[in-house]
Symmetry: D2
């Protein structure tokens, strides 16, 4: 019932993992922005299953169809409805273990909430597949932010299965994130991360990790008190991505062991403009942007679908039993989550930038 | 412009640190619940400045006034407006350094957003004082949750300035949290935390920390996809508390170095009811409650107001300068933040429980 | 940007007249309600173009496709996305008069709002065709209201082109509304209305009219102060139907020349239950339902598309000119608007009934 | 639970007729607008009881207090909370007939909705007194619209008790509306209206009427599809005023007996700008403003409080009985409703103008 996000740039999600499609409606994109399927497809391809040996082999092409809101290659101001059809769905394993909730999944909680009427195949609308809609919406938001404000949203894998990437420059992230299968900014660390994923997969197990996301060039003053802080709106959006269990800004949890004199960011002048010398705050003070890069880290738990035997309860017989999950699951969701995190961050920033009056109604003049 | 939170149980904040008052409107509390000022005051007193030697000496009594929505000691179903008046405000230091944004505060970002028209005294509506409204609303939410569902919301100081409390039982938290000035569940650790705060204060510095919050007895199935997850709604509410920079659920950031076989919570039967053997997920799967205790951790950065000399820029002359902040500031905000965190968690859970159809319209029958 | 309606039962519209499709997402329908395409199609067929000689000859079959939210013939609690494809679209006339705003249409106002980027073909998303989405959503709302509360929503043509139907009984409306092409409760008056429409059509002109809508069996106490009154929520929804220019409740405009002693509805007992002797208020007092039938009247202006020559301005040359509108337009929209009015009334009442706690989460038990 | 109105300019109402106060919070007013109590008071005085012999003698001074959001005589961007205290309340008559719902009032419907816990004194929050909050919010909206866009909102009494004012010019309305006690644009008709009210009052009865409201100089293109039409948003706001039973735009109900060729407004050029020759549409097409004056008519039913004997049912004994209402009631609410209608129209237009990007963030430069 809360399938919409945003006030002025608004995203509404529909669809299920094993239903007919997964889709999204985007409202509030100004009229007159050039938009074609290829702009969306480019981002969808980054999230697509079956990209390489580290991801699920479910063979979805995930070709976007734009159903409304675009005319002659330009946005019209009307709601933009987009979807991808589900083609390669195999529900047999789900029928087989219909009454056995998988540990770490939403099977049990949705069974209770919907009185057993939810679409249990592949997790239904609680599946990670729903994030295809996040990426489609994010593609529009990224294009809008870049075209109007020059804002760039950029994420990469910071940790996977305990392998931690050192801090690398923005240039290095840009250069490397799409050139290795784990989407790590450091090519050296990327190989170790991939190895860790392969080990887990070989054991029938899975690993978690951390995505770091940056937003560059966002002007100061974006965000809204009291309940529309940048941190709060971003966190709410990021927690809608399945498997996210921690969202931090700047030093995040690290602030707890510091002193004020160590953690405050001093103001300074650079080329006549006010900046902070450090950016411990992750570009946000009082819930509003400081003009420095927005920086957040998003922790994903390990994929709950594992081949190893796990304890569960049969809801039909109400007896304890065990389950071994077959199927085509990612041993680590983090690499494919990178464009999803970017998309949600872009959606929130587009909404807040419009609310702050920074994005004009018509972006480009008709020729 | 986003001063409201919640869909069916809704909180709207107003007021400023050095204005006339700080207040809140609560909508959606069912008619017929017993409610007097003393129910609110009890929680406000836990947040009040000047409680002990570790907190600010600003001498506010923070006596709640209920302006609407209560008749003959019972809620009427109409909006409940409550406020505390500001009595002991001293704006002289703020006038003196009107153009010098304090590092770590919202002075600069609000200056940009509001074109210099914001009330800069004491941070205006970006002050921590605004959380008096959170606590007043939270007092109603806590009473509603306990009276209707038996849900208890309980927080305590888990870390302060690097001093970490071990995990303690719920009973121990209940017994100890109000008996030591840092609100730590472990009396032994409490003394070390207090010592750490005193050290920082003596140096004119400050420390950060972590509040852990539990919600007990929440039924399974509360929360809403896709953008109304319990984690997302709680995080958004908690990030509205000034100085919060990380919000985690269950193992939180710790999930990143675990395997699925280590982090999944196995299902089991206890007295014929389904439970999980562990609660790594913090009581939430798929954004919905599992029936196990909700557990989140909230990291506060060190109080940005410190006496130590800091670099800043004079916005009037646009020259670099330094600032030393005088005034009556908490060297650590964490102990007073405990009831604030409880309040925001209760507000979100009350809203979600109503949305899930779990709280009836009229709670008590008229005699 | 405000393409959604409702708080707990929520409708989101997308699509355009000459784009690929017209669709709607319905959120908040409880899980477990039986729902098939035929339930939707039945209502869509009442709105379909080309029903008879009085309506447009645009040959749309308007076959509903359900894309999500239904599994095994039952609602799942997930968003229900439905659409009809546009098959018989002819945009040639629109291209020809691209720069000439049609009087009485939204061509000029949308041109200004969207900087000329709106989809001008057939009015784009401002077309009456968008109401196919209202009817699809309304079909679900009607089914939900009837199945859970026994509420019946029933509309008919009360006036067309100055021909006024006398008040007829509910039974007579039920019996006759679908048996004559103008959907009038009185068969005798129906023929006069049809004649009036034919006359106007023969002249290349059009006529307006009034739809009266009743909702029976709605319990007392539904609706919400201050800004969620039944009248306000219904009016807002009804004004979203293109061509509506007046919405009245009970005696409506007629109240202005009455005295309080004439217009107040006296309370009385009937079979031990409280009723009012008259129902001048249209079943609503203080914005809440009284338990008597809800009664509203909705005035539609004449179809603005007429063959007669009209003055307009060429937006490209900025010179005055004239326009004669060709194409397949209804000479009177009122008969096809009857199911649209019912649909919007049902959507609002379903939302308000859920907010009032009257509709339970799971309607039917799984066998 | 729906005590807020607006998306970007947002109004939240609290308080009761016989409680401590009636108040309102306004969010979204740009920072930097000059605002003092006297700007608000000027409008409140137009709504104040006891203005003259035609209105209630309840002796409220209704002096506004601004509690937040204004600093040094300028708005800060923070929520503006304002209230008037209730001083002259006499609840004795309400206690006496506690269980006897007054015909035409919300006593019965609120009793059902709130299980008897609502504040029944003076109608509680369902009282017309709540509109003091509408007027306070409207005063800010009017000032914002005029200062930023030159938009003027202007209402007058068009009909009272069957006495109808002819159409008068805007200049005549401006000149006369505050110079006669019924607020009619025509001084000659005003006297007849006053006479009609006095007659009804002498009989212990009451009369209804119609307020017409104009908004001048609103640019074209304001309003939002599908569910944010100007008509829909205005109607929803106007129906929140107690006693309103019809809202019409332009010719309103009159469209039903016209032909398209008679009712369409032809486009023409005036000084190089596009206008319509007539304004039958009331300045709105497709839910968006045309640039012509917005014109709506709002019908008020007769004041339900009359001295004449009426039938009702005693809710305590569940027996039929009669009631004669004493107290200090307006025999016609229309004259005092004029500033209330203006206020609500201004609130909606301010919200929509901000959403359309027409009102900038900071209106005036700091000196």
């Amino acid at each position: 019932m809360t399938n919409s996000l945003g006030l002025m740039f608004r995203v509404t999600i529909f669809g299920e993992s094993h239903g007919r499609c997964v889709g999204v409606i985007v409202e509030g994109c100004p009229a007159g922005m050039a938009l074609t399927s290829s702009h969306i497809q480019m981002e969808l391809d980054r999230r697509r299953p079956g990209q390489n040996s580290l991801t699920t082999s479910r063979g979805e092409e995930d070709q976007v169809e734009i159903l409304s809101g675009v005319f002659n290659g330009l946005t019209t101001g009307a709601p933009i409805c987009m979807l991808v059809w589900n083609r390669d769905k195999d529900s047999s394993d789900y029928e087989r273990r219909r009454w056995m909730p998988r540990p770490g999944h939403a099977d049990w909680t949705t069974h209770v909430r919907y009185g057993g009427f939810n679409d249990y195949r592949g997790g239904g609308m609680f599946s990670g597949r729903i994030t295809a809609g996040f990426v489609m919406a994010g593609a529009i938001a990224k294009r809008l932010l870049m075209g109007s404000l020059g804002v760039e949203v950029l994420a990469h894998s910071k940790e996977i299965g305990g392998v931690v990437s050192p801090d690398v420059s923005v240039d290095k992230i840009r250069a490397n994130v799409e050139s290795n299968p784990v989407r790590c900014g450091s090519p050296e660390v990327a190989e170790k991360m991939a190895e860790r994923i392969r080990e887990a997969a070989a054991e029938g197990d899975s690993v978690g990790g951390v995505v770091e996301c940056l937003a560059l060039n966002l002007p100061a003053g974006v965000g809204e008190p009291v309940f529309g802080t940048l941190e709060g709106d971003l966190a709410r959006a990021l927690y809608s991505i399945p498997a996210v269990k921690a969202v931090e800004f700047g030093l995040g949890r690290g602030f707890s062991s510091l002193k004020g004199s160590e953690s405050n960011d001093a103001y300074t002048l650079k080329d006549g403009k006010i900046e902070t010398e450090t950016n411990n705050a992750g570009g946000i003070l009082g819930g509003l942007s400081t003009g420095m890069p927005i920086r957040c880290t998003v922790t994903f738990k390990p994929t709950p679908s594992i081949r190893k035997k796990q304890k569960t309860v049969n809801l039909s017989t109400m007896k304890e039993t065990t389950i071994e999950i077959k199927g085509r699951h990612d041993p680590c969701i983090v690499p494919r989550a990178v464009p999803v995190v970017e998309g949600m961050v872009a959606v929130v920033l587009a909404d807040q930038a419009i609310r702050a009056g920074l994005i004009q109604r018509v972006m480009e003049k008709r020729g």
